[in-house]
Symmetry: C2
Subunit: 235 residues, 2 copies
């Protein structure tokens, strides 16, 4: 949950997560302190206070995404350019396969601040955009209800995957911090070769990021591309 | 919603229903008066106050089910005998097909009172039992969260059905009031022929009801069986 301000939503989120068998709640750059220990959060968490107690609080979304290998920005926002768009059920199926097929894979659903939701910059840090196709005339789900639906879809999809489908040689996806480091390295390399003008960057780096995130890089591929960057910068 | 007592849940239910494109909320035998006009209900309904305003209040579950052709009791309760059990996704698919394939069909999801849920008698009035397969160690969804999931599943399933799948000669299912009238008529007929001893009814009528409800009677079939009852009682 990014930029959350209402303790009641944090409590409801903890309950929603636990009812669906998940345990990890991360608050990225919350708008208020002590959200997880607020009496309203504890009241609404009901029997899920343990989720609040072990919730992780990070200073930024980037930090929260650092260990994640596949992330979904849950948003109602329409964008011209950005990560591929799926609905929450497709997202849940992709996340389940990712968890089963990869090695040390971790997925996350990212929800934005109450009222305003995720901004374009936050969305661009994620691999996918996902939507809840609600009533177009009234699509006002609050953040805890949206999280409840997302957690339910993930649980249902994950349970559909049979152990037989799990690959013997799993793919090693790169965690997001490695991809971010690569993007920065790549930007330096592009500046170095005068492909990117830092005074007039245009949409170049967002497009690069879009491509990197969409293609879900493996560890090997990021290492390889880091090698390319190092090599460019040497020249 | 059967035997509801918290106005906040009624408000959240209205919002959940509207976000998923539905409009009909029925309160059967609510525990308190004026639930739909309570300030807490209005606050939590947010932009769905219109759903509260046109909510229908009935004295009993039987009354609420009277016009319904396919009903699902949403419960966590396990039962030895009772309607067929499906999960909420299967329920949503069946409901969608029923709405498209039948003539004048109406489906309902039935939720019980807070804390205690639906009792066996209430469940036996429904065609199906449906479950939300949540975390067995903590399956505590509140009634509004459960309704949100159910409404979402119905919306998603309904949108998957293409107009091409709609039959040209739809089935005329019997509304529940006709089935109830038949069951009463049938009981009289069974007593009349000394098959059923009213002093020691055992499980006979619950089993009959189970069979009638499971088989989703058509109008024609109920008319036909009513004819059988009349004929028995004449002798």
């Amino acid at each position: 949950m990014v930029g959350t301000s209402h303790p009641g939503n944090v409590g409801s989120a903890a309950r929603a997560i636990k009812t669906m068998g998940f345990a990890e709640l991360v608050l990225a750059a919350p708008q208020k302190e002590n959200l997880t220990t607020h009496p309203e959060a504890i009241a609404l968490a009901s029997g899920a206070v343990d989720i609040l107690e072990k919730a992780i609080i990070t200073e930024s979304l980037e930090q929260a995404l650092a260990p994640i290998t596949l992330s979904f920005a849950l948003t109602a926002r329409e964008r011209d350019m950005g990560p591929p768009v799926v609905d929450i059920r497709q997202a849940a199926h992709e996340a389940s396969h990712h968890l089963c097929l990869g090695h040390d894979t971790r997925t996350a659903i990212i929800l934005g601040p109450e009222r305003i939701g995720l901004d374009n910059n936050q969305i661009s840090l994620c691999h996918r955009i996902c939507h809840i196709p609600a009533n177009p005339a009234y699509s006002s789900l609050n953040v805890a209800q949206a999280l409840q639906l997302a957690a339910w879809e993930l649980r249902y999809a994950y349970q559909l995957i049979q152990p037989a489908q799990i690959q013997e040689t799993p793919t090693h996806y790169a965690p997001q911090e490695k991809v971010e480091a690569l993007i920065q390295h790549w930007e330096q390399a592009l500046i170095h070769i005068d492909f990117l003008n830092p005074a007039h960057p245009k949409k170049l780096m967002p497009r690069m990021r879009h491509w990197f995130n969409r293609s879900q890089l493996t560890q090997e591929e990021t290492d390889m591309m880091r090698g390319v960057c190092t090599q460019i910068l040497k020249k």
